[in-house]
């Protein structure tokens, strides 16, 4: 077995092809514990987006099935009543919904975000905020999905930076590049768009910033 700095490289971690030594693994676990919640959130959001993207591509379309919690929402800006068509993203403290309403030009659609009404932010800015509007629900949702994926990559980038600070702080002048890479790869995998390819496999599409990699994994 490979040795590094006198230690056996025997620890495998999810999403990282290499193996870590015991001291690298301890550092990895310490850093990961600080960003574990974000990792789970990002993975969950990414899966939710994959499902919505599949729905957009399906024959029935994004407007066919409704799983939003409420039927009608009222927004102050612009002043309108919106019928909930589908849920785009379920958040811990709110949700993002596809809504529709009839106006002078026919049917219009909007991506509407709901915050907890009692939150300090909602008290300042309102509990229901229109994020985007359009006439074509599929294009509207697909554009919004891309926007959210960009935000997820931004979140992942910051989580890795926070983990990196912890790793550097506890590095004791050792080479910790593999530990940083192990954390970074795990976040890259969490936010990668995934496409079902059949035969119990799925394809993870990593962005240009992730070295144009495509990874096939067995579906659990």
């Amino acid at each position: 077995m490979l040795k590094r700095s006198g230690e056996l490289c025997r620890y495998c971690v999810p999403g990282f092809a290499g193996r870590l030594t015991e001291s690298e693994h301890n550092l990895y676990l310490e850093a990961l514990s600080a960003v574990k919640k974000q990792l789970l959130e990002l993975s969950d959001f990414s899966h939710q987006l994959d499902r919505v993207a599949e729905l957009c591509e399906s024959a029935s379309g994004i407007t066919a099935s409704r799983n939003g919690a409420e039927s009608v929402l009222t927004t102050p800006k612009p002043p309108a009543s919106w019928k909930v068509v589908n849920q785009i993203l379920k958040l811990e403290l709110g949700s993002i919904l596809l809504c529709s309403h009839e106006d002078g030009d026919g049917k219009g659609y909007a991506i509407v975000q709901r915050f907890l009404p009692q939150s300090l932010y909602a008290k300042a800015h309102g509990a229901i905020v229109v994020q985007a509007q359009g006439k074509d629900p599929t294009i509207l949702v697909q554009d919004y999905i891309e926007r959210v994926r960009h935000t997820l990559r931004f979140m992942a980038s910051d989580a890795v930076a926070r983990a990196q600070e912890i790793i550097w702080k506890n590095s004791n002048d050792r080479d910790v590049s593999r530990v940083v890479r192990a954390i970074s790869d795990q976040f890259n995998e969490a936010v990668a768009e995934k496409i079902e390819t059949g035969h119990n496999t799925r394809m993870s599409i990593l962005t240009e910033n992730q070295n144009n990699r495509v990874r096939f994994t067995r579906r659990m």
Partner: protein, 72 residues
């Protein structure tokens, strides 16, 4: 991760530190996702630590909450 995120930092903050974005979001009562989205839209201005971690300066937190007072 090497997303070009510098574009989202609208102005350098004078304060050196503050809560992380997830911690600041919790104080605001919103998901971290929502605060990161506000930063990307330019509606919230974070600072950046020497290690590259984003944080929300106290002044920015107050600014986000001040709107409530101004509106009510």
């Amino acid at each position: 991760m090497n997303e070009n995120q510098d574009e989202t930092i609208r102005s350098p903050e004078r304060e050196d530190d503050g809560p992380s974005i997830p911690d600041a979001a919790a104080r605001l009562g919103i998901d971290a996702f929502s605060l990161y989205a506000l930063i990307q839209q330019g509606d919230a201005n974070p600072g950046r630590s020497s290690g590259g971690r984003l944080f929300l300066p106290k002044s920015e937190m107050e600014r986000l909450l001040k709107r409530s007072t101004e509106k009510s």
